[in-house]
């Protein structure tokens, strides 16, 4: 009987027994990311274990470190919030000096990457360390109890952006760290989603194989932080892609003009010119994405805020060189 080869290695680095919530998208992202990394190391260096992990403080660090219930099946260094990229730089530079083959995977959440760790990230990219930085983006500080980060989207409720009489919740547009990383003209930058695992694995493998720094930003659901039902975790992130909230793209060597944009699906019409995506007509309104999450619940009483979010999403796509049309829900 023919046994079909599994689509990805069965080796596990993110081990069972971790303490993440049911439906945690970020746990899925790390499981897939380390598998992809291992495959890339095997293909490039002939050794699936030729990597070490530097992990910033955050929810994924906390839930993956409850020994003896779970443990990382790779060398793993947990460092304070702001330091993952800097410590990864140190491991990589020392490895290089002693001639050890392999790559470093640095992991940080959106708080540890977009806020306190941004300086270390920029330094790591600029010094051209052979490190892949994976930013798992659940769009707030979930570990300390759901405080906003600069990666929190417009309109979202968090404990430090509470909506009320004087506030609609988070009142600033989301900061896209992937674009900041790309501005360093590094070999590879990508955004990904746990709702599209094959695309995510492909991007992680590509990031792991390039020579020099790479950055991948993956959106993943936080069930308690997004006030989302656990069984809808993947559906929500898929809707983020299909409604235009979360773009999937790749930028190589800082070449923004030749940005590669993955079709969002969900019936969206993609217009290309010379192979380049120039316009997308989305068919699903962003309300479909928002309504599944309690963090956006209050926006439905203030439709003007949803329209503002639509404008911000259009502006973000404009930065990517794409004209988008975002439908409003049918009355």
């Amino acid at each position: 009987m023919a046994v079909r080869k599994p689509p990805i290695t069965t080796r596990e680095y993110w081990a069972p027994g971790h303490a993440a919530c049911a439906g945690c998208g970020c746990a899925t992202s790390l499981k897939l990311a380390t598998k992809a990394f291992s495959e890339a190391m095997e293909e490039k260096y002939g050794d699936p274990n030729a990597f070490a992990i530097a992990h910033a403080t955050g929810c994924m660090e906390v839930v993956s470190a409850v020994f003896p219930y779970t443990a990382w099946k790779a060398p793993w260094i947990h460092v304070a919030f702001e330091n993952a990229a800097a410590v990864a730089s140190g491991v990589e530079a020392a490895w290089k000096k002693i001639g050890r083959k392999g790559k470093i995977l640095a992991i940080g959440g959106d708080g540890g990457t977009a806020d306190i760790g941004l300086q270390a990230l920029s330094g790591m990219l600029e010094r051209w360390h052979n490190v892949v930085y994976l930013m798992y983006d659940n769009e707030a500080y979930m570990n300390t109890g759901i405080q906003r980060s600069s990666s929190t989207p417009y309109g979202a409720w968090t404990t430090t952006s509470p909506p009320g009489k004087y506030s609609i919740g988070e009142d600033k547009p989301k900061k896209w760290v992937a674009l900041i990383a790309a501005a360093h003209q590094i070999p590879y930058v990508a955004t990904a989603s746990v709702a599209n695992p094959f695309d995510f694995v492909r991007k992680m493998k590509k990031a792991a194989k390039v020579d020099g720094p790479a950055f991948v930003q993956v959106q993943c659901t936080c069930v308690p932080g997004w006030r989302a039902p656990p069984e809808k975790s993947i559906e929500i992130t898929r809707l983020a892609i299909e409604t235009g909230v979360w773009p999937l793209f790749e930028i190589e060597n800082g070449d923004f003009f030749n940005i590669k944009i993955q079709p969002p699906g969900g019936g969206a019409k993609v217009k290309r010119e010379g192979g380049r995506v120039v316009a997308i007509e989305f068919k699903k309104p962003i309300e479909e994405y928002l309504k599944l999450q309690g963090r956006f619940k209050h926006l439905f009483k203030r439709p003007e805020a949803i329209d503002e979010l639509r404008e911000q999403i259009k502006a973000m796509w404009k930065t990517l060189g794409v004209d988008v049309t975002l439908p409003k829900p049918e009355e």
């Binding site: 403080t57 947990h78 304070a80 919030f81 702001e82 708080g111 806020d115 306190i116 941004l118 500080y141 300390t144 109890g145 405080q147 906003r148 600069s150 404990t159 430090t160 952006s161 509470p162 009320g164 009489k165 004087y166 506030s167």
Partner: protein, 382 residues
């Protein structure tokens, strides 16, 4: 003025919440913070309350930025606060020194957790006592307050603002996860019954020209806040009375640093607060601060029941430190016990104060739990 919480009555709230409410009643209208366990609840309360009292609650990108923002806000004229825990407090150290050097009134809350490094994020400790006094580099002094109850967390927060404003200095409110997360009955006074202090502002050109001088002869210059028409020059470099950098002038440096340290040291009896419990006829004394004092009071009662003449000195202020008072105590008692949730920090201050007049013994406990009264009793009984 309407407050977004009940005033003039008692409430049942956490220490973190009490600190946030006290800050608002003390006139704090600017909060800059960054999430960290176990201090996040202060920020979350500020995020809710500040818009309702026409204040600012702003989330910064890290703790360095948080303290820098409140220094800026203080120079803009606001009473300003930030709150953090050990890892964030370590990051703030450079700017605590800057606030000392530029005589900027700010309140920094450090809700201690067990360290070093990330340590035990959800558990209490007193490992930052020395850091709160000596964490920043160079010759300096500042004020450190240490509450042991939720009511004290409230009261000392108001006191912290008053001292910061009165002496133009950073004040550290050093509490811990136990006080911060505990819920207790707290009396929240009517705003009219709260005595508030606001920094001296220059009354004339002459005063405004000496923002780092001594125009009043008390070592505390008026603060020409930004936007009032004065071209004030503020720098962490050694500066003269007018704020102009004078980095190679030994005399200017000595005059500045001695005045900054002197304005606290010379007024330490106004600043220092403590409570004595059963000390009149005591033969053994316990010296404690913060949450451990709760167990120490009970330990004294048990020891008295056993016929041992024990007493407690509870320090509400950790710095400045009254070494003379400890020496007097050491002359009275045979032995002083210092229970604290670290490997020995307050112990060293007490030992220096005792000056060899009495034996000083450390009762150290680490790992995240407060001493039980019996743990103290057993060590005293021996």
């Amino acid at each position: 003025m309407r407050y977004p919480f009940p005033v003039g009555k008692a409430d049942f709230i956490q220490g973190d919440e009490a600190i946030a409410r006290a800050a608002i009643l003390a006139g704090c209208r600017f909060y800059a913070g960054y999430p960290i366990t176990p201090a996040s609840e202060i920020f979350e309360a500020m995020a809710l309350y500040m818009p309702l009292v026409d204040g600012v609650s702003i989330q910064m990108e890290d703790e360095i930025a948080s303290i820098a923002a409140i220094i800026g806000a203080s120079w803009a004229g606001a009473k300003a606060m930030t709150a953090t825990s050990g890892p964030g407090f370590s990051l703030m150290q450079e700017n605590i020194g800057y606030a000392v050097m530029t005589e900027t009134p700010i309140v920094v809350v450090n809700v201690q957790r067990s360290g070093p490094s990330t340590g035990q994020p959800t558990l209490a400790a007193q490992g930052d006592i020395m850091q709160s006094i000596w964490g920043t580099h160079g010759d300096h002094t500042l004020i450190v307050l240490s509450p042991s109850t939720v009511q004290e967390a409230f009261d000392f927060t108001i006191k912290a603002f008053n001292l910061a404003e009165k002496y133009r200095t950073p004040v550290v409110l050093l509490t811990d996860a136990e006080v911060a997360h505990m819920r207790e009955r707290v009396y929240i006074p009517n705003p009219d019954d709260i005595e508030l202090v606001y920094r001296k502002l220059p009354q004339n050109e002459e005063e405004a020209r000496l923002p780092f001088g001594d125009p009043h002869g008390d070592g505390i210059p008026s603060m020409p806040i930004f936007g009032k028409g004065y071209r004030t020059y503020v720098t962490g470099l050694t500066h003269d009375e007018r704020g102009r950098p004078k980095t190679v002038d030994a005399e200017v440096h000595e005059r500045l640093i001695k005045r900054i340290i002197g304005k606290i040291e010379n007024n330490k009896h106004d600043i220092i607060s403590y409570e004595k419990f059963e000390l009149e006829d005591a033969e053994v004394a316990i010296v404690s601060t913060g949450i451990v004092s709760r167990s120490a009071i009970r330990a004294v009662k048990i020891l008295r029941e056993k016929g041992i003449k024990a007493g407690l000195l509870k320090l509400n202020t950790i710095w400045p430190f009254d070494f003379d008072m400890i020496e007097e105590l050491a002359e009275q008692v045979k032995k002083i016990f210092v229970p604290e949730m670290n490997m020995g920090q307050l112990y060293h201050l007490v030992k220096e104060g005792a000056n060899g007049k009495a034996e000083v013994e450390l009762i150290s406990k680490i790992g995240g739990e407060v001493h039980t009264p019996m743990e103290i009793v057993e060590r005293v009984v021996g």
